[in-house]
Symmetry: C2
Subunit: 564 residues, 2 copies
């Protein structure tokens, strides 16, 4: 209990969560939030659902579940926290322990004393070097005002040919929000695939395939140079490879941490460009804490600093800072880069290191791709998912996992994140007691099957090609047999004509081994991978020496099916 002055700068997630927790622990502290914007305590992450019409009322983005708006009055009456909106902190005087702020409308300056200062200044969207971003019809999706502008345009019928620039989480949530059969939606991504850095390229490609089938247009490895307008409105997006008609453009090329105030006050800024904090979320000045989108985090696997601007970190760190500014000793240890996304009916999730990331960091990695049902296949709610698991060859530690599909993946990724937190290895997987019932999973959970398949690979029981490797072999004209072990009806329904493709159903293989040439490399394939695996074991067991199976089968084929 104290009369401590806790001053918080930034009023979206990091700030208010800190204030709420601090208030519960210290009823007497003076807790003040300064926010330069108009809205506070709002669900930025909810904006896509507002745009999609799933949230009918704009106010719901900053209301409690019991229907009360979280405005300054709410913070005053319900939380005992004083909030100043339209109030920008412009300088920190660390010697005097004061913050100088200026009202954004009146220009009036005001000085706030602090015992503990909390920086929850967040992030701001990157403005890329693209000409004519000031045309009408060019939007961002970072703040509530952005969502209002887009919503107005949607309602006015001004959003028909949309170009989303950038395919990170926010870009893809924008896609999900505005996609409709009545619109053409094109994503332009500078990197080679969707969600670069979040998904490995093969997974990004697979995701793109299923969104493309629904009508999304993607342009990859393409750089937007400028926008062209007509009568002050955007009309075209000009890239290094051509032009795209557009009456609306959403810019989503990422965010940068908001660190000017901290930097000007001499606080240490890290390599990532974000504020450096210790486990207690203290900056280089022990009386100044920072959290949320403005700080850098420690990656729990690599120990390296990363910039990972996520609402979940802002909130979890807020609870830690709320403890610590009221005398506690709580710690936030770091992140695994877990992320989850729902886009056009597809679930996407990932945690830990991607394959490319792990290799770049020098890990000796092994990976597997497994296509499977998310629950017993006979259950009417079952759907397919595809999991890619990444492990360290030497320690057998799980390094990462990525999943996409109509079926449930988020659960598997959360379980994996928990395992990685504890340094779990592939050998733990079968022993972790995940619940099983037909409407939820399979007797051996899909995520455990994936781990078993990866163990099989490490132990030489599964010898595989990735779909990408098989594609390369086909394109290169390699001489080998692509042994399709699906049933005849399945094969007859769809297959390509290529002299290298041979059909022999798994159930016939043992009896018809003499039909399989012994002098050629054999690559078995099926729909999801498990039959091809079984077939590879039959052939290997029968003395065939050059046999592999294609991981994840046709479900894992990110290319045109006509090429399969």
């Amino acid at each position: 209990m104290s009369n401590k002055k806790i001053l918080i700068i930034g009023g979206v997630a990091a700030g208010p969560k800190t204030a709420a927790r601090a208030r519960r622990l210290d009823p007497e502290a003076q807790i003040t939030i300064l926010e330069k914007g108009k809205y506070i305590s709002y669900a930025g992450c909810g904006m896509p659902f507002y745009l999609a019409g799933k949230i009918h009322d704009f106010d719901h983005l900053y209301s409690t579940s019991y229907g009360v708006k979280r405005d300054p009055d709410f913070f005053k009456s319900e939380r005992g926290v004083e909030v100043f909106t339209g109030m920008e902190a412009i300088a920190i005087d660390r010697d005097r322990k004061q913050v100088i702020a200026r009202h954004v409308d009146t220009g009036e300056e005001k000085v706030f004393d602090y015992d503990k200062l909390v920086l929850g200044t967040g992030s701001y969207p990157i403005t890329p070097p693209i000409e004519n971003l000031d045309l009408k019809g060019v939007y961002r999706l970072n703040h509530l005002e952005d969502a209002q502008l887009i919503k107005q345009a949607l309602d006015a019928g001004e959003v028909n040919d949309v170009v989303v620039i950038g395919s990170g989480f926010i870009g893809m949530e924008a896609v999900d929000a505005i996609f409709s059969p009545r619109r053409t939606v094109t994503v332009v991504e500078f990197k080679e695939t969707l969600l670069p850095g979040i998904l490995d390229q093969d997974m990004g490609n697979l995701l793109y395939k299923s969104l493309y089938e629904q009508g999304l247009e993607g342009r990859f490895g393409e750089k937007v140079l400028k926008l062209e307008g007509e009568d002050g409105r955007v009309a075209r997006v000009i890239t290094d490879k051509g032009a795209i008609d557009a009456d609306a453009v959403i810019l989503a090329v990422g965010v940068r941490p908001n660190v000017q105030l901290a930097q000007a006050a001499g606080l240490t800024i890290g390599e990532t460009g974000a504020i450096v904090v210790n486990e207690y979320m203290q900056t280089s000045d022990p009386d100044i804490y920072a959290l949320g989108d403005c700080v850098e985090n420690t990656h729990l696997l690599t120990g390296k600093k990363v910039f990972a601007p996520m609402a979940t970190y802002a909130n979890r760190q807020g609870r830690v800072v709320g403890d610590n500014v009221t005398g506690g000793q709580s710690t936030f240890k770091g992140v695994l880069g877990t992320g989850v996304l729902h886009c056009l009916g597809i679930n996407v999730a990932r945690t830990g290191l991607g394959e490319a990331q792990a290799r770049a960091l020098g890990y000796e990695v092994e990976t597997i791709r497994v296509a499977t049902f998310d629950m017993t296949h006979y259950h009417p709610n079952s759907n397919k998912i595809l999991l890619k698991m990444i492990a360290d060859k030497k320690t057998r530690r799980l390094l990462g996992i990525q999943g996409i599909g109509k079926g449930e993946v988020a659960k598997r990724i959360d379980v994996a994140a928990t395992m990685i937190y504890y340094g779990g290895t592939l050998d733990d997987l079968l022993n972790i007691d995940l619940g099983y019932s037909p409407p939820y999973n399979t007797p051996i959970d899909p995520m455990v099957h994936t781990g078993m398949a990866l163990k099989n690979k490490l132990e030489g029981v599964a010898v595989t090609y990735t779909p990408a490797e098989v594609k390369e072999k086909l394109d290169r004209g390699d001489d080998f047999i692509l042994l399709d072990v699906r049933t005849a009806p399945q094969f007859n329904m769809r297959h390509i004509e290529d002299p290298r493709i041979q059909q022999l159903a798994l159930g016939e293989l043992r009896q018809k081994l003499d039909q399989v040439p012994r002098d050629k490399e054999i690559v078995t394939v099926c729909v999801m991978g498990s039959r091809a695996y079984e077939a590879s074991r039959i052939l290997q067991g029968a003395g065939f020496t050059n046999v592999k199976f294609m991981e994840a089968g046709m479900e894992g084929w990110p290319y045109d099916m006509d090429e399969f």
Copy 2:
């Protein structure tokens, strides 16, 4: 590689999984399965969905996802495994390493040699001492033949007044399968609540409340003595408390391990009545392995032996035994009793120790009940869930968790099971990097909120009564204030008249502290618990000395709402 003879007894889950894995590792072994029944490799767990009409074809219960029936031909051709159905193993000659079997129809005996013998003899349903179980209309739901009989009766319109005896997992799955507005369904349970031993009593009561609201009738603490029939068909169930009309009865009072064969062969049987095995799943004879429903398991938290007949263990152990009978050294370390159930639209899940179990084992436990939304409340798919978490006061280790609700609980329980596997504590929770996005959870996941609430309790920040304790206080006529901090509209919609109830919305509390008596015990309540918690902190902060909040609010009130 070998010509090893691997002989497997039992052909449902444990046996076939062992065979399938062993075959992939050893292409030359002779692998044989003896099954006394007619069907093999079938999804017993899928039977309820067949009865409910969600699986249209009986065959689907033993077909692959690619439409091939898993019959002996399949095992022969696709898996290279020989299966004898209708073949009962009647004795094991351990010296000669032989099994003597008898064909159930012909009576013909046959001797099978083995190098490694695998017992996957499973379990059989308990027959309770109830008179007249041989009446027509009395069913079990353990084997495929049972499902066929019930399905015929359902189709013939013979199942209208159903009594399910026993409310374990199978009983409740039977309820889910046959429940319909056109039938009366009554569950008779000898213990005090639904899913005894699986859920704590308060959670069982809450589950019952939501099923009762849908029309299920439950009779608890009631013992079935006999059945009465008319013309050979069941007509009434007679209990120690009365009679229930019934034209169909489903007996689901549990299963016992099938150990006669093992016992007769002198293999060690444990206290639980099931076969004793080590981590490698070897019985007391190192050349004889046993797994699945016929063995006992080690509880990973307590180290004690438990009988836990679950398909997931049968399958996971099958992979271990498949490894070991072909020369491997894989281990199955134990179980946490994780279980999950879907019943009448309600998700139910649990792992680890229940409160009662933990107390009985001598743990000093602390518990919390938290009602919350499974995802951001503004998302149209959000639903409520109620989680109860159990931790060890001394070590702060997570001991168990139970969840019920329309919303997602299975994910949370799987994450908790993973934590418990690694000995995780409440202090880890905020640092485990669970993915967040509005359609999946809240920025701080519901399961993490639950852990935080439990930490708050351990640290004296949250001081609570359980709903049961509040009910007791009300009933006992205690003098205290039940301070309802819901909004006025919420309060006006539903509340009981009791002079001890006072409404004061959370948002007004700080301003109207003088309206709250200082000389009485105050118990704050709300819909889900979080506002009541907040209110308790406000009062405690304002110097009220005798304040508690009711855990989980009205959502956690398992009693009649008219009593609230």
